[in-house]
Structures are given as structure tokens and as C-alpha cells.
């Protein structure tokens, strides 16, 4: 548990966060499929999707504003906000939902007993439950990422900020005996983002791109008034 984070900066562990520039986001959804591919998220099929069981750790929310012809649309990518004051964490009776020392909201799949309380407590609705055992019709199972554990039936799952990529970047940095640089870690959604709307990095490093963007006057937090202290900053559109 208390694995010493390989010194990214001299100031102790990182605090991973993201900035989402809504002025760049085009709603292309490359992040959505990238996330599915990276994180072994099951496809549930038409019937289950109709029953409200589709799983998308990241989604693009679309909101219409106004009426024809003066109509506008807002896109907003929503994924786990990795709240510093996460409502999902205290409610889990088995600590399956817990905070890591790098500020991630971790979901310990083995520890999850399926109360689904965390998902109810989460106001962002970014937690997804395995209502059935996931199926990969052969040979689709060959696409599975060996770095990410598969979840079985009755386990809650959610965005991990691609913790496997964080680990990999740290291991690479350690191997090369260099500090982890800003931009070394790119979750799948960030990597794929065609308009570079998503930026990921260490919020404890004041000079990282994500820290600089998070200080932008355009920055807002999603449902920030709930006091959840999300680690994702949304930069509002201009104009």
C-alpha cells in the first residue's frame, strides 16, 4: 500500500490532476474508445445498453441551449473527478473505494462486495457496475490489455487515471535514473484527444502544464459547490 512513490519531484508524492479545455473539446469521442481499449472496459450489448448498463468511464456530455434557430451545444467530457474529498470513499464499508497517496480515487476490485453505495454517493455518476460477468467473444479477448485487471461480475469500476500508465512511466523513469518529467504520463484519453483538450499531470508541481491551466481564470470545477474538491479543472469556453 504505502509504496514509496519514486521521487517525481523532491517535494514528495505527486498529486495527479487534469485540465479539460472546453474551448478545444470537439466532442469527437476519441477519448471514449481509447479508454475502452486501454482499460478492458466491456461492451455490454444492445439489450443491456437499453437497460442502462453501458459502461463509459469517460463520456462526452452534450447539452442543448436555446431553441431553433438560436441553438447552441455544450460538450463536456466527464470522467472520475478524483475528488480530494470524495463522497464515494467514506461510504464504502470495505475500503474498496479508497484514496491513494498520490490522490487517486482507487477502486480495489478484490475488496468490492457490490453494495453500489459509492455509485449512489458519487454525484458525477462516473462509477460503473458489472451487472453481469463481462464477455469477450473470441478472439476479441486477444485485444485485452494485460496491464489492466479484468473485473468480474458485481464489482464496481471506474476511471483510474490510467494508473497502469502512471506506474509504467515511473518505472521507466527509475530505470533511466531520471526524474519523471511533465508530460511523461498520458492517460489513454489524454493521449488520444485530437484537439489536445485534455491535459494531465502533477498538480503538486506548480510549473506543470496542468497546474498552469488549472490556475486559468477560465477554470471551474464540476459541481464544485458540493465541496468534493475535484482534481479536474474545466476551462470554460470563450465567446
Amino acid at each position: 500500500m504505502q509504496e514509496s512513490s519514486t521521487a517525481t519531484t523532491t517535494n514528495g508524492p505527486a498529486k495527479w490532476g487534469m485540465a479539460v479545455d472546453l474551448d478545444r473539446c470537439t466532442g469527437c469521442e476519441a477519448c471514449v474508445t481509447a479508454c475502452h481499449a486501454e482499460n478492458n472496459i466491456p461492451t455490454v450489448g444492445a439489450n443491456q445498453a437499453a437497460a442502462g448498463r453501458a459502461m463509459h468511464w469517460i463520456r462526452i456530455e452534450r447539452y442543448f441551449e436555446g431553441e431553433f434557430p438560436d441553438v447552441h451545444v455544450k460538450f463536456r467530457p466527464v470522467l472520475c473527478q478524483h475528488c480530494d474529498n470524495a463522497p464515494c470513499e467514506p461510504v464504502c464499508p470495505t475500503y474498496a473505494s479508497s484514496h491513494t497517496d498520490e490522490g487517486l480515487n482507487a477502486q480495489v476490485y478484490n475488496r468490492c462486495i457490490g453494495t453500489r453505495y459509492c455509485a449512489n454517493a458519487c454525484n458525477y455518476n462516473v462509477r460503473f457496475f458489472n451487472w453481469f460477468n463481462p464477455i469477450w467473444e473470441k478472439p476479441l479477448h486477444l485485444q485485452l490489455n494485460p496491464d489492466v485487471s479484468l473485473r468480474e461480475v458485481s464489482v464496481m469500476e471506474k476511471c483510474t487515471f490510467c494508473v497502469q500508465r502512471i506506474k509504467e512511466a515511473k518505472i521507466d523513469a527509475k530505470r533511466d535514473a531520471r526524474p519523471l518529467a511533465d508530460g511523461d504520463v498520458k492517460p489513454a484519453c489524454v493521449q488520444s484527444c485530437t484537439a489536445n483538450a485534455l491535459v494531465f499531470g502533477d498538480l503538486n508541481d506548480p510549473e506543470s502544464a496542468v497546474s498552469r491551466l488549472s490556475r486559468s481564470p477560465r477554470g471551474t470545477k464540476l459541481l464544485g459547490d458540493l465541496g468534493t474538491q475535484p482534481k479536474i479543472t474545466y476551462l470554460q469556453r470563450e465567446g
Binding site: 466532442g27 461492451t43 437499453a50 431553433f68 451545444v73 478472439p139 485530437t194
Partner: protein, 752 residues
């Protein structure tokens, strides 16, 4: 039973149980010696090229060791092999610059699809019944050889046809060489939502017969007419990268973006200003802007040069396109036209982009020429922030001729149906699905049925390939040598190249190698100078100039560096614009013609390339089926979009089943009630409605192409797919619309 017996029995039972535990067939398979040298748990990133659309993005494939069931020497067994795990954009590639769109991300599932054709197949039932039996490659090729030899013996080589989606690079060259040496006519290209109108217009206006490349990153004002340039049109990844920069990439500068279209696309949803317009009048708006600009003397008519000369009345300042007249035709207020014109001329560099439905009207070429002239007027051609034409890398010498000009699938189908004996006796079918992608009036399916022998290179059974007599499944792109020459999307010349990223999973063979093999076996043989496709690529790429080497070093081997980085790119000598064709009359506005009288069919029917399935060729990928469409959040569904007011007049609510009828037929689909579509337009995504296309797409939803009228664009003769009018009525039944999202609005006023 005594105690001893019981113990014996117990022991036997547990032994059986233990053995049964090994009964897992995987554990009974033999294990082959690995062919790849991989370290478990370590990933290797190999270059490849995304084949799903014509943008030609470069990808990197993450290869990791895994265990797959494969057949080696006729024996099924397990092998540890390098398996593709993830696709990402190739950061070095000039088109997509490290990014990959939603469809490209899902391209992985093409290789691992459970319904991929794993063996050569020979038809065993009635044509179209979908009944095939597996045969060996030797038998399959022998059968095809005998069919082709019979053609040659009868001196009937010209009745060999090759129908494919437009090929590029060395594949295109190989097919062309093969056909011409056999004595067959050139390949017949087919694309559902083709771009011939744009190419024709660019050729007329600028002398380049290709799609444009936009330098959005440096634009300050972007005016789009119908083009879904961030989603599905032209080179969407390249354009999205530019879009991000144009919005927030320059400190203190943020470009304005106006989208003009009757139905809000994903791209339109990002616009600062969304302007609905009467379908088929886009060119009039462009000329209206030009009129205002010229009248205000912001730019002289002469500035548009050759592009201006393509438009009737240009030199006189377009007197017919006053803002009032434009308002009458397009439905956009005159004051707005004037404002847009001033913004366009003053916030430079500005660029106008036209694409999609405006070009799919009967007056499509006019619309495109008008926009080209507008761009030329404000000096946006070949200038930063404007329109460019990607230089072409000259790979392997002269390109063989492109597809037969003017020979399109509708004409060929008509020819076949009109004659007793089909002019095509043997059809080779690449990846193209015209049965799904053409209006029923063209009777393509009937025509194909009249062709005595069809051989397909497809990976999947779809509406067209299921009509074939023989299927010689191609490798997936990850399993084969791939190359491409992107038409647009890059500022430098690009020739993409990649070796196979992984070994074949099934008993498939690369189509180019099959053609080469076939050629050698024919009597008389077709002697092509290459042993295999790899050799052909090597020969072609070796002709490219090596990048300048530092003094004293050998220039790098182009063939090797191109393989390592996923292609060759660099500056080439500028290609001169083709001379203007003589005697071509300048284009003037003619009202777009629509199939169906407005009284009987009150709505314009607007099919559009869907975010998930593009033209329908990707409906078989489960990741894309379950992807919520970004505007409607629909998954696994078809739907028609209807304006809120129109819906309430028709008594239709979200999810109701409606029947959409044109003069050509009807279809049924659930309704998505949208505020972002004009009241007289019904829009529907292309992609679903496959009869036969793997377990994930078959029998799902409806196909808008199936009710399209066979209206043609006047100048190019390509399908005017936005020129059908329809009526809509509510019918009983469950629409089956599956939505991911709940409310349409952030601050729901549902209960106020």
C-alpha cells in the same frame, strides 16, 4: 457398498474430476514454438496505417506477447505471439500528429472480430444465401485461375471487372498494372459518400484534382458550409488538431468559427454561431458574402483570379447576389449576410470550408466553386491560415491511371442490366459494399446477380460480399504490408508505409500477394516485376529522396527509415497547377432539384456520415456500436432527427417510431427530437440497417440510403445523396431507441 468400495469410488471420482478440469479444450491444444521474439510484459510500438477512412492517419500499434489459437500446417494449436493491444496516433506522422479519432481507436477490433472470415470460402448454397464452405488456398486460387484462363481463352479479358473502394499508393498501382496487363478495364471505384464534386471543383478553381488541406491552426475566422470537418469529413484528425490550436493555441488570439448547415453536426455544435440554411443554397450564401466584400471594396474581384472566373458574373461583382436576394434564396437575413461578409473579410486569415451535403445536391459543383472563389477573393489560397493542397510524393515513379473517368457503379449496373450477357463476366471485389451503399433504383444487387462469377477479397460477409462465389480473405491491416499516399491533411508530401505489425491470426492472405501469385499462375502468365508486395514497396520507396544527411555520413536508407517511422515525408518540388480546361462555362446558380414534390413530401431528407460508422462500413465493430453518438447519445440504434416544433405538430415525442417515406421506399426508425435541425429537414445517420454484416450489425436499425432517389449531381454525375424529399408519419410500435444520456439540457426545465 462397503467402506473399501466407497473409498475406491471416491478416488476414481476425484481423479475424473481432476481430469475434467483439464477438459478445457485450450489445455488440450498443442503449443507451437513461438515465431516472435518477445519479452512477456514488455510492449513494442510498431507503426501502421489506419485503413478505415481516406484520411490515412499514421498509427502506432502496441504489440505485446499473448497467447492465440492459430492454425499452423493444418494443425490447430496455441502460440505465443505478438498481439496488437492498442492503437494510437503516430506522433511523427504529418497528417494526424499523434492523434487518432474514435473510429481509428476501434480499428483494433477489425483484426480480432469474431466474425472475420478466417479461411477461403466457396459458395455452397444459393447466391446470397450466405452459405459457404471452407476450401484450401490452393483450391481457391486454382478455381480463380481456371475462371480467368477461360476468359483469356475466349479472348474476353475485358469482361474482368474490379470493384473496390478507392485505392491509393502501391495497392492502387498493383491493381491497375494487373488489370491492364490482363487486358481488363481499369478498376471501378465505389465510395458511398464520395468526394468527386470537391475534387472537380478544386481542379477547376485551382488546378488540383484533390481535396483541400486547411491550415486551421493559423486561421482567425472559419466559415463552414455543411462540412463535418471535426467529425467525419476529409481529414478529421488533422483538422481537429488544427482546431484546438486555432481556439486556444495562440495567446490572446481565438479564432471565430461559424457553421452554416440545416442540421447541426458534431462540428456545428462547436461553432460560435450556427446558421441554419435552406438546403442546396450554400453556394448562394458564399457568393452573397463575396458580393458584399467586393461591393465594399474590401477585395477586388480580380483577387480571386482563376477561381473567380469559374463563377458567372464574378467580374461584375456578382450583381445577382445582393444580400436581399441571398436572404430570399437561403433564408439567412440580409443583415446577417452583410455582417458575416465583413467578419470574413476583416478577421483574416479567414477560410471557408464546404463539404458534405452542400456538395450532394444537383448543384453541388456550383456550391463548391462559389466557396473556392470566396476563399480566393480574400487571399486564403496557399497562405497561412488558409487552403493548401498537400504535395504528392512520387512513390515508385509515375502513378498508373486512376479509375476510369466517368465510369461509375450506376452506369455499370445499368449496362449489365441492359444487355443479355453481362459485360462483366468475372468481378473481383475489393472492400466495397455498393449493395448497401447505393440507392435501390440503381439495382446494383440485381446487376451483381447477373455477373456469372464474383470473387471477393473481403474480410467480412456483408451485403455485397455475400453475393460472391469465392472469398479470398485479405489480411487485416495490422497483419499486412501497408502503404498510403494521403490526399490531404498534411502540409508536406507523405507516403506512409508499414510492415506487418503482427502475424496473421487466421488463414488469410494479403490481397496484393494473391494478385501477384494469381498473375504468375495464369496462362498466359502476367509477368509483374515483383516477387511479392514487400518487394514492390521496397522498389517504390527506394526511389524517394533520402533526407539530407549530416556531412560525412551516408544518407539514411529510405526504405529502412520509412519502415521504422511509418512512412516517408518531406518537401517535394511544388506540383504545378493543371491548366484550366478550355470552354468550360462559368457556373451559375440553378436551384437544386429534389426528388419528390414538396406537397407530397414536405421534408428534405438529409443522410449524414455517422460519427461511429462513417458510411456504414464500420457498423460491425462493437466498440463503435456501443459508443454514444455525441449529439444524441444513441447506442446500437438508428434514429431520425426531427425538429422540436415539427415533432410537436406531428404529435411525435422522443423515441416514437416513425415511417419515413420517399418516392423510392420507406423505412422505420425511432425519432430523436432535436432543437438543432431546421423544421423542414429530417436527418438520419448512415451506418445501420445492414441486412448482413456480422453479429453486431445485422438486422439492426434502418439504412437511409435505401430510400434515396437516384438524383445525380449535374456536373460530375455523382450521387446527390441530399436531394431526396420525404414524408414522415408516426406508426405504432416500439422505436427501440437506446440513449445513454438522460436530459438533453443541463438545467432541465422539464418540471418547471
Amino acid at each position: 457398498m462397503d467402506r473399501r468400495q466407497f473409498i475406491k469410488l471416491g478416488a476414481a471420482t476425484s481423479a475424473t474430476a481432476t481430469l475434467a478440469g483439464c477438459g478445457n479444450p485450450e489445455n488440450q491444444l498443442i503449443r507451437f514454438i513461438p515465431e516472435d521474439d518477445l519479452i512477456p510484459g514488455i510492449s513494442v510500438w510498431k507503426p501502421s496505417i489506419c485503413p478505415l477512412c481516406s484520411a490515412g492517419c499514421g498509427v502506432l500499434v502496441r504489440i505485446m506477447e499473448g497467447e492465440a489459437e492459430v492454425i499452423r500446417n493444418g494443425q490447430l494449436g496455441l502460440i505465443k505471439m505478438g498481439l496488437a493491444k492498442k492503437l494510437e496516433g503516430n506522433p511523427q506522422h504529418p497528417v494526424n500528429q499523434g492523434k487518432l479519432c474514435v473510429r481509428g481507436q476501434a480499428a483494433l477490433q477489425v483484426t480480432y472480430h469474431p466474425d472475420r472470415i478466417a479461411n477461403p470460402l466457396k459458395r455452397s448454397g444459393e447466391r446470397g444465401s450466405g452459405q459457404f464452405q471452407e476450401i484450401s488456398w490452393d483450391d481457391a486460387i486454382a478455381e480463380l485461375v481456371s475462371q480467368m484462363n477461360a476468359l483469356a481463352a475466349a479472348n474476353d479479358q475485358k469482361s474482368l471487372g474490379f470493384l473496390t473502394r478507392p485505392l491509393r499508393g502501391q495497392r492502387q498501382r498493383l491493381v491497375a498494372e494487373f488489370l491492364s496487363r490482363f487486358g481488363a478495364p481499369a478498376a471501378l471505384d465505389f465510395e458511398v459518400l464520395g468526394e468527386d464534386v470537391m475534387r472537380r471543383a478544386n481542379a477547376r478553381s485551382f488546378g488540383y484534382d484533390q481535396l483541400s488541406t486547411f491550415d486551421l491552426a493559423q486561421s482567425r475566422y472559419v466559415l463552414t458550409l455543411g462540412a463535418d470537418f471535426l467529425g467525419t469529413w476529409n481529414s478529421p484528425v488533422s483538422q481537429s488538431v488544427g482546431y484546438g490550436e486555432m481556439r486556444q493555441g495562440r495567446p490572446g488570439i481565438r479564432a471565430t468559427f461559424v457553421q452554416v448547415e440545416p442540421r447541426m453536426s458534431q462540428t456545428g455544435a462547436n461553432a460560435d454561431e450556427w446558421v441554419p440554411i435552406k438546403p442546396g443554397t450554400e453556394g448562394v450564401l458564399a457568393l452573397g458574402l463575396a458580393h458584399v466584400i467586393m461591393a465594399a471594396r474590401l477585395f477586388p474581384a480580380a483577387a480571386a483570379g482563376r477561381a473567380g472566373a469559374q463563377v458567372a458574373g464574378w467580374a461584375n461583382g456578382l450583381p445577382a447576389y445582393t444580400p436581399q436576394e441571398v436572404e430570399r434564396i437561403t433564408g439567412i437575413a440580409a443583415a446577417r449576410v452583410e455582417r458575416l461578409a465583413r467578419e470574413f473579410a476583416e478577421q483574416r486569415p479567414s477560410v471557408a470550408i464546404i463539404g458534405g451535403a452542400p456538395l450532394a445536391h444537383t448543384n453541388g459543383t456550383f456550391n463548391a466553386l462559389a466557396v473556392n472563389a470566396l476563399n480566393a477573393l480574400v487571399g486564403s489560397i496557399g497562405q497561412p491560415g488558409g487552403v493548401y493542397f498537400t504535395p504528392r510524393a512520387n512513390v515508385g515513379g509515375a502513378q498508373a491511371g486512376t479509375a476510369q473517368a466517368g465510369r461509375t457503379i450506376d452506369k455499370v449496373a445499368a449496362e449489365i442490366l441492359a444487355t443479355e450477357r453481362s459485360p462483366i463476366q468475372l468481378l473481383m471485389l475489393g472492400e466495397a459494399n455498393p449493395v448497401f451503399g447505393t440507392p435501390p433504383a440503381w439495382r446494383v444487387k440485381e446487376a451483381l446477380a447477373k455477373i456469372p462469377y464474383i470473387v471477393s477479397f473481403g474480410n467480412f460477409l456483408d451485403e455485397t460480399s455475400s453475393l460472391s462465389d469465392l472469398i479470398l480473405p485479405d489480411h487485416s491491416f495490422l497483419e499486412s504490408w501497408v502503404d498510403d499516399v494521403p490526399e490531404s491533411g498534411a502540409m508536406v508530401a507523405v507516403a506512409s508505409l508499414a510492415p506487418p505489425a503482427m502475424r496473421p491470426l487466421h488463414q488469410t492472405r494479403a490481397m496484393p500477394d494473391v494478385l501477384l501469385d494469381l498473375g504468375r499462375r495464369l496462362t498466359p502468365a502476367i509477368e509483374l516485376p515483383w516477387q511479392n508486395y514487400q518487394a514492390m514497396l521496397q522498389a517504390a520507396f527506394s526511389t524517394l529522396p533520402a533526407p539530407p544527411a549530416p556531412a560525412g555520413e551516408e544518407p539514411a536508407d529510405v526504405w529502412r527509415t520509412a519502415q521504422a517511422q511509418g512512412g516517408w515525408w518531406g518537401e517535394v518540388a511544388a506540383r504545378p497547377a493543371a491548366a484550366a480546361a478550355q470552354g468550360q462555362a462559368p457556373a451559375a446558380y440553378t436551384e437544386a432539384q429534389f426528388d419528390g414534390a414538396a406537397a407530397e413530401y414536405p421534408y428534405h431528407f438529409l443522410p449524414y456520415a455517422s460519427q461511429q460508422f462513417l458510411d456504414g462500413s464500420l457498423a460491425h465493430l462493437p466498440w463503435l456500436q456501443e459508443l454514444p453518438d455525441v449529439l444524441t447519445s444513441a447506442m446500437w440504434s438508428s434514429w431520425v432527427e426531427i425538429n422540436t416544433q415539427t415533432a410537436s405538430q406531428l404529435g411525435i415525442v422522443q423515441g416514437d417510431l416513425v415511417e419515413v417515406g420517399s418516392g423510392q421506399g420507406t423505412l422505420r426508425a425511432p425519432v430523436f427530437v432535436s432543437p438543432a435541425i431546421a423544421p423542414d429537414v429530417i436527418a438520419m445517420p448512415v451506418g445501420q440497417g445492414h441486412e448482413t454484416f456480422t453479429r453486431y450489425a445485422s438486422g439492426r436499425g434502418a439504412n437511409p440510403i435505401s430510400i434515396l432517389a437516384p438524383v445525380l449531381e449535374a456536373e460530375t454525375g455523382s450521387l446527390a445523396w441530399a436531394a431526396t424529399r420525404v414524408r414522415v408519419s408516426k406508426v405504432d410500435g416500439d422505436g427501440g431507441l437506446i440513449l445513454f444520456g438522460g436530459s438533453l439540457r443541463e438545467h432541465s426545465e422539464e418540471h418547471r
